[in-house]
């Protein structure tokens, strides 16, 4: 989840969400985007986009950038079988 190609794709997907949630009622666009990413993205995807934000977050639209900043901290398990 770290190649330029897949990060570009993650940025695009997050921005797509931003465009959907921005005009919705209730005003909490950032919260809605954060929630959607938390619920649907596998931890490694969240880690990759958070890392991208840490490096400046090129390409992320305004509310999306903020939403990525608020993502639940994702952990990848240690290697091995134990859950």
């Amino acid at each position: 989840m770290s190649s330029d190609h897949s990060v570009d794709k993650l940025v695009m997907m997050a921005n797509q969400m931003g465009r959907f949630f921005t005009p919705q009622r209730g005003g909490d666009t950032v919260g809605a985007i954060t929630n959607h990413i938390n619920r649907f993205w596998e931890p490694r995807m969240r880690i990759a986009i958070a890392a991208h934000l840490a490096k400046g977050g090129a390409g992320l639209d305004g509310p999306v950038r903020e939403a990525v900043g608020r993502l639940k901290e994702a952990k990848v398990p240690e290697k091995g079988l134990s859950a």
């Binding site: 596998e42 290697k79 091995g80 859950a83």
Partner: protein, 948 residues
């Protein structure tokens, strides 16, 4: 075991609520008004002799065998065409009637070949039965007179024969083709002695006619005239088992008619609640793939994909899967492997694969092919209404006044449901079609859409907003419904949004290429024309705005009050047989069964307790994410059950790269499919005829699949998953799929009441099926939405990033056709190829002329993702600027061209819009040639090579 016999009542059931009392042969009978005397007699157990009547079509009254006498009335009226009347006293058997019937039969038999002993229908011939029933003992006319005995057979249809010498011109076939199928392919030509059944014009045979090979005429024929070729070859069946078609989401019930373990024919089952006795060419006839020579029956493994396959024992193959998966997890972490469930497999099998991944692999990297078709339906409808499924049963269409079809082509993709829809349209319901192509249903015999909005691919959401704009600004809102059942704030916010000028038909029309007046007209018709029902398909979901469009559809239904009763609703037409079921069964990486999020502690704990395993609370990878992760080197092993991701997923070049990057790809399928070219383990799968289980169709109906023969590969697919789980140390002790369903029911509130016992008793049920609805729920959201108040979401139109430009000026959209199914793995291995031997590119005459392309020429189609070549078909079905193709043939690889843009909410790929250029070409492209060479190389099997 014996044959499942269905009673033929002679004429269709009357739906009248009024009843009539009468006396037949001394028996008091009470039946609905409008019932024929023949049917009333049958209700009382009295079979009036008949030939031209059958209960699938309206009575015609031509054979004169069903005559009866009615006290106080002169003459001998036909019981099939005479309705009952109060107090009527009917005799079905008198001296006079006996004489007339004998006379009629004598005439029929004198012009009928007397080869009963060697006739395919011997034992199942109504003419033979009637000769017996009327006591015919001799034929006074002799057989030397003018007759039809030398007429030629029409063998052109690959599945059935028309032997004109045996025809009694009862016209049951003609009426079945008209009334049941709605194709109008057959006519009776000529008069009197010269009259005969004809398929289309005199010059036509069945194959060259309009016939779509649905089999309704064969089913209706009382003689051997129209007979299945398999029946002619094998002989009459001796037992039958009711099961469910494994092709499309209609979920038709069939009787698998058997002789021992050999399938003689599949006959549509009248009690099947989805199909009501009808079928299409796929389910009825295209089952020969089960015995195709290319079917793989032994497990195979190889160390790398450039090696030939090596046949091994089941133990060795399963052992290899387990050891590889364990190794990959040891080396690359618990999240490095995953699985894909199939919408072609049963609910039980799907459930097991997700259980294996979650419980056995210890992660949630499980997804299903529904990802690439209807995932937006789940998310969109659950946001609006609270459930991830269609709202109606199929019967509902009989009560619709306006049918709005958007992004679906039911006559090709859901043919049996389409026949029911067409019947309703012929009876007067109005039709609106929103589709870039002029699909068949727009104009066909006795049907003409009031509106066809041929929008530019990718503008669905805009058009739906414009329909809503018209409804809201012209005061057509169903205020009472909205007030009572919907969230007021959400409605107000939404109404203000759709009323904005950018959503007006005048603005949207220009951009979408549709006349604003037509948009307004269609909106008015849908809002005011009575019961309005929306049916939609992948033309809605497979877009970057798929979910938005599903929500826009839900908004439209809510604002007009078209929910919560018969005849209305939002109805996704599911592609494959078990798309609904695969979604219900917890195949999505973020959801357990019944659409409950994996992060929900209470739900997860329930599963953990029953499975005895801790479960990960984080969502797993979806199919497109798996590919990306594979290319990034963090996803290494994949178990794919019954799914050809390489051919069916978009951007083939990208998928190939992803598969090549994995170290252990396990494919479980009937054939070495395209994905298997990149696999390391091949596990032969079983067909739907070889296992027990259930499928859930597009109307949430859970239908039984019943085993009629031993699996040729040795194991049902569910048993294979159990073996893998066991080898990985995760025991799942089931001895029969019914126990799997019991577990599903125990864990899933919407399935709580489902069991094989119940299904055996009542045939089928539609979920939710639980304490509140012990026999299931045909229509949802009656008296309120599952989520509480209906939720209007804002559905702003956001154009896809896939844009046309000077390099790629045309828009490609994709679809399927009647005779083929999905990637074609099954149907291409049947005689259905006579109708569709290759995929072609539909192109408008203007675009063709501009490029110097003639009909039938090879053309190259290039997009930003890749290029392929196929033949062009010039047609004005598509608008200028739009081209269209199907994706049934691996040679064409339509998905080389499609991109990996996807729906914002669910990652459902955008198959339906790709910017392309079309140029003349000499034949297959370089890529196709290389691909085919690789495929051939990859499919080698070591033992077979040695033998050659």
């Amino acid at each position: 075991m014996s044959l499942v016999h269905e009673i033929d009542y002679g004429t269709p059931v009357s739906k009248s609520a009024e009843t009539v009392k009468l006396t037949i042969d001394g028996n008091q009978v009470t039946v609905p008004a409008g019932t024929s005397i023949m049917r009333a007699a049958m209700d009382a157990g009295i079979q009036v002799p008949k030939l031209c009547a059958t209960d699938s079509v309206d009575a015609f009254g031509s054979c004169r065998l069903c005559l009866v006498e009615i006290a106080g009335r002169a003459g001998t009226p036909a019981s099939c065409t005479t309705p009952v009347a109060p107090g009527m006293v009917v005799s079905t058997q008198t001296e006079r009637l006996k004489q007339v019937r004998k006379g009629v039969m004598e005439l029929y038999i004198s012009d009928h070949p007397l080869d009963c002993l060697t006739c395919a229908a011997n034992g199942d011939c109504e003419l033979q039965d009637m000769a017996g029933a009327v006591g015919l003992r001799d034929v006074r006319y002799g057989y030397a007179g003018e007759n039809h005995l030398k007429l030629e057979k029409d063998e052109s249809n690959p599945y059935f024969t028309f032997d004109a010498s045996k025809c009694i011109v009862c016209s049951r076939c003609v009426r079945a083709c008209e009334e049941v199928q709605g194709t109008f392919a057959l006519t009776i030509q000529g008069r009197g002695f010269d009259s005969k059944v004809s398929a289309g014009m005199l010059s036509d045979d069945f194959l060259s006619s309009e016939c779509v090979s649905c089999g309704a005429c064969v089913q209706a024929c009382p003689t051997a005239t129209l007979s299945e070729k398999s029946l002619i070859e094998i002989g009459q069946p001796e037992h039958s088992v009711v099961t469910t078609c494994a092709y499309c989401g209609v979920g038709c019930s069939f009787k698998a008619e058997m002789r021992g373990e050999e399938l003689v024919r599949m006959v549509p089952y009248k009690d099947g609640k989805a199909n009501r006795g009808h079928s299409c060419v796929k389910g009825r006839f295209a089952w020969g793939y089960a015995n195709h020579k290319e079917r793989v029956l032994n497990p195979m493994i190889r160390e790398s994909i450039d090696q030939p396959w090596r046949e091994v024992s089941w133990d060795e193959a399963i052992g290899r899967v387990a050891s590889e998966f364990k190794r990959l997890q040891e080396k690359h972490g618990r999240l490095a492997i995953g699985g894909i469930t199939s919408s072609r497999c049963t609910n039980e099998e799907t459930y097991l694969v997700q259980k294996l991944v979650r419980g056995g692999f210890g992660n949630n990297n499980v997804d299903t092919c529904a990802r690439v078709c209807h995932s937006p339906t789940g998310y969109g409808l659950s946001t609006a209404f609270g459930t991830s499924a269609g709202t109606q049963d199929f019967d509902s269409v009989e009560h619709s006044d306006v049918i709005l079809i958007i992004g679906a082509n039911p006559t090709d993709a859901h043919p049996v449901f389409a026949s029911r829809m067409k019947k309703r349209l012929r009876a007067g319901a109005k039709l609106i079609v929103v589709d870039p192509r002029r699909t068949d249903i727009v104009r066909m015999p006795h049907i003409e859409a009031q509106y066809h909005l041929p929008l530019r691919p990718g503008t669905n959401a805009a058009i739906l907003n414009a329909l809503a704009h018209t409804i809201v600004t012209e005061g057509l809102v169903n205020e009472a419904f909205v007030r009572e059942y919907c969230d007021r704030d959400a409605f107000e916010h939404w109404a203000a949004f759709v009323s904005e000028p950018q959503n007006s038909p005048e603005t949207v029309g220009v951009m979408a290429g549709v006349s604003p007046e037509d948009i307004r007209g269609a909106a008015r018709l849908y809002a005011t024309g009575g019961n309005g029902a929306i049916y939609y398909g992948l033309g809605v979901t497979e877009h970057s705005q798929g979910t938005t469009t599903v929500m826009a559809i839900a908004n439209l239904a809510m604002v007009t009050g078209n929910l919560g009763k018969q005849g209305v609703g939002v109805n996704p037409l599911r592609g494959q047989n078990n798309v609904q079921g695969a979604c219900d069964m917890g195949s999505f990486p973020h959801e357990l069964t019944g659409y409950r999020h994996i992060s929900d502690d209470a739900t997860r704990t329930m599963f953990e307790k029953l499975w005895g395993r801790p479960l990960d609370h984080e969502p797993g990878l979806r199919i497109p994410n798996m590919f990306d992760a594979a290319i990034d080197g963090v996803f290494k092993g994949l178990y794919v059950q019954g799914e050809d991701i390489l051919q069916s997923d978009p951007n083939t070049v990208h998928v190939v790269k992803a598969l090549q990057a994995m170290e252990c790809v396990v494919v479980q399928d009937l054939f070495l499919n395209e994905t298997a070219n990149y696999a390391h383990v091949f596990l032969p799968g079983s067909t739907f005829l070889e296992k027990d289980g259930t499928f859930t169709n597009a109307e949430r109906r859970i239908n039984r699949v019943r085993k009629v023969m031993t699996p040729k590969n040795g194991m049902g697919d569910w048993e294979i998953t159990l073996a893998i789980a066991k080898a990985m140390g995760f025991e799942m002790p089931y001895s029969h799929p019914s126990e799997i369903m019991d577990e599903i029911a125990a864990l899933t509130p919407t399935f709580a009441g489902v069991s094989y016992d119940l299904l055996d008793k009542v045939g089928s049920v539609q979920w939710p099926c639980n304490e509140k609805a012990p026999l299931g729920t045909p229509v949802m959201h009656i008296g309120g939405f599952v989520r509480g108040k209906g939720n209007f979401m804002i559905t702003e139109y956001v154009p896809t990033d896939e844009r046309t430009g000077s390099r790629f000026p045309l828009l490609l959209t994709t679809g399927r056709i009647l005779s083929q199914y999905n990637v074609g793995a099954q149907t291409r291995r049947t005689d259905n190829v006579v109708w569709h031997g290759e995929d072609v590119l539909e192109i408008h005459p203007q675009d063709a002329e501009l490029r110097g392309v003639r009909d039938g020429d090879w053309v190259k189609v290039d997009s930003r993702a890749g290029g392929t070549a196929l033949r062009a078909q010039i047609t004005d079905r598509v608008a200028p600027g739009v081209v269209y193709t199907t994706f049934h043939h691996p040679d064409t690889q339509a998905n080389v061209i499609t991109t990996d843009f996807s729906d914002w909410a669910t990652n459902c790929p955008e198959y339906k819009v790709t910017a392309v250029q079309v140029t003349p070409s000499n034949g297959p492209s370089e890529w196709q040639r290389e691909y085919n060479a690789q495929a051939e190389h990859s499919r080698r099997i070591a033992a077979k090579i040695a033998a050659e």
